[in-house]
Subunit: 432 residues, 2 copies
């Protein structure tokens, strides 16, 4: 992609209305623009990152055996009246009437709808277990939207729903998602701490939140410092993590007031966290409410047990930036970078340099790398600042001296390390 | 994918509430389920088709030089007050207030929002021309939703917006989209007739609708029969098509009442059509309203000229089925089929047949083909009926006789043609 052909409005100044660094950088790097309070448009560069995060989430869901579908955003209030949540859900639910005066809502979650769809589509124990998921825009009318996409009102969420024939199966589905979530966050370059959580309005008796530790997090997490030492690539990691103590402040207070903290004071860590996932096992709560039952192996009806599993896909972009940036801008992990390589042409007015830069772009793309090529008529300093700001993993600079010497400059964004290399060596380095 | 692991609730009976064949088949083949009037959930098989249609639309937009971004579904009424459309737009616009009482709406289209975003992101003539697009869910509160996804209320739409510095550039952008649309529909196996259209509430003086000719279409189109003979692969086809007469009934009546029909009676064809695309060139209507202007080459401000370009992505699925089905079910074009091959295991209780069928699945997938493998404990007749209903391009049947003889049965869904072949020959035939 040529920089002169895309739509990438970067900002030099830090916007005064953005309080946290991820929000500032998402605005400055031209990833998003606010169109109403807590509602954002994804500009071309931001959409590329969002799609890559979504692709990682999708791949890990598929690997965990979940089946993708897509539910609509507008729901009928009648569905929510069946579960009793229409009246119970607070003012975060965006409610409205259609032109015929029927009560509708913009879905904040989908337990009712998936249970009704599954109920109408299955008949017997042979149709279970199943875990279904979708990745869809949700709306929660936050009273005070803030922190950009971290606490927006319209946001992209992956929500999965498991259906099992018995308690053991239901807990196995829960465990599978627990493990899959740790993997998902690790691929995104994030270290997530699973925190035992209250179940709240979703219901049930088993729930974990996944928090990314970051100083700008909205939650306060108390946890066994042994968690920090767990090797996530160890197959036993999920089980180990579930054994170790981790609670949000409010729950931790309850523990202190009750049995007392099970972790010795010198091992108790306290950090701020960003919640990026939340999973629940709630048994038959919605199956009962929505009349879901199937024929069991012995012919008698069985009421399936359910869990639900959410990941804040758009929020993850903010969390990744909070975890990976420096004073000059974003540092994208390779798994979600909008382009692999930023190519800077120092002298687009020089035909030889232009031909060399075009050749570099062609060879990088032929090697399967995506390239954002800055061939605009602009000062080198501005181009380098923009590349650092938007945080592509690699920068390749082509200028007259290099063209004469047969080299390019290769810079690794994460470390700032630079080298003058032949194009072949640079390509080999980028290919890893 | 194993049939026993997905969620594919097919229906044997034709649903009584579905009037047209595409709606009936989408329900019967387990592609969609209605969740409220005119609102549908996309089940796993339906979502796979939707994503493939979306991918074709995206690829052709990218090839035409349009840049993808993503605008939110909820919009502020204030944006629409700036253009004057908040009051002008009818009851099809879903309006509501948020918890603070601010007027909001579920976007039916995005001229105002893209103009405001573009206005805030560009400064000079160097930033133009640009065509930006997004693929997003829209809502139009149809008074009488019907025909399934053909006239639903929540629907997926690709909408693009062009910005040019002068009239000639604006018309060139329009022409580029015109040509790109013809290509898009052709890749989807559809023959689209461009019809000169009134501009309606979008505004402007140049507009075309693209209609797929089908007896179940909601529109009536009068056109020069010479259109039917145009070779769409001819580079001159777009220009030829724009010269030939084609009008919707209402506009045709106006022509008759005025200058009279320019086409001799014996060459005037009349068919029903499904509108799947609509493009507009409306000059500075929204640039003026939203205060978009850039610095021109000579330093003086220039007000960009705009066009907008819509494709009904979810509606296309209905149109494709209307154009491609038989008495037994859907016949998917290869470009959008949910899987390339349906694999039927006639005897899943036989270990030898099971091993052979698993091997066929593995080899097809290794060859890059997607496979839906029916290994359920069900009668062969039911399996064949399901495969015909869901309409995958190829069916491969593995049974005990074939295993003994070293053959499989290969069936082409579109023609019904069957052959007993070695697996190698079948693979070669499927690979094309």
């Amino acid at each position: 992609m040529l920089m002169s052909r895309t739509f990438l409005p970067v900002m030099r100044e830090t916007p005064s209305d953005a309080q946290i660094v991820s929000h500032q950088l998402m605005l400055r790097a031209g990833l998003i623009r606010q169109t109403a309070a807590g509602i954002y448009a994804w500009l071309p560069l931001g959409l590329r990152v969002l799609r890559r995060i979504e692709a990682v989430v999708r791949r890990e869901q598929d690997r965990a055996g979940a089946i993708e579908m897509l539910m609509p955003v507008v729901q009928s209030a009648d569905l929510w009246r069946q579960s009793g949540r229409y009246d119970a859900y607070g003012p975060e639910m965006l409610r409205f009437a259609d032109r015929h005066g029927r009560d509708m809502l913009f879905g904040p979650t989908n337990e009712e709808m998936i249970t009704a769809l599954f109920r109408d589509g299955v008949r017997s124990y042979r149709d279970l277990p199943r875990t279904l998921y979708h990745i869809q825009w949700k709306f929660r009318d936050e009273v005070r939207p803030r922190f950009g996409v971290m606490r927006g009102r319209e946001f992209l969420m992956k929500d999965a729903y498991s259906f099992d024939l018995d308690e053991a199966g239901g807990r196995a589905s829960y465990d599978a998602m627990f493990t899959s979530y740790l993997k998902t966050f690790a691929v995104l370059g994030l270290r997530a701490v699973p925190v035992r959580a209250p179940t709240g309005p979703i219901g049930g008796d088993l729930s974990h939140e996944f928090h990314i530790l970051a100083d700008t997090g909205e939650s306060e997490v108390y946890y066994d410092a042994a968690l920090d030492a767990v090797d996530l690539s160890d197959p036993d990691a999920p089980a180990t993590l579930r054994r170790l103590y981790a609670m949000e402040a409010e729950e931790h207070e309850k523990v202190l007031a009750g049995a007392g903290c099970p972790v010795p004071a010198e091992r108790l860590a306290k950090r701020r966290g960003i919640e990026v996932g939340h999973i629940f096992f709630f048994g038959t709560k919605y199956s009962d409410a929505m009349g879901l039952s199937v024929q069991g192996r012995d012919g008698a009806p069985v009421v399936p047990l359910m869990g639900s599993y959410g990941i804040g896909v758009s929020r993850l972009m903010g969390a990744i930036i909070e975890a990976s940036h420096d004073a000059n801008g974003i540092i994208w992990p390779e798994s979600v970078a909008p382009y692999d390589v930023g190519l800077v042409n120092l002298r687009p007015d020089d035909a030889g340099v232009r031909a060399a830069a075009d050749d570099v772009q062609g060879r990088l793309e032929a090697a399967g790398k995506s390239v954002l090529h800055d061939e605009r008529d602009a000062r080198p300093g501005e181009k380098f600042a923009t590349m650092d700001l938007i945080g592509l993993p690699w920068q390749v600079t082509v200028g007259p001296k290099g063209v004469a010497a047969g080299t390019v400059e290769l810079k690794r964004r994460a470390t700032g390390e630079k080298a003058e290399l032949s194009l072949e060596s640079a390509l080999a380095r980028i290919a890893g």
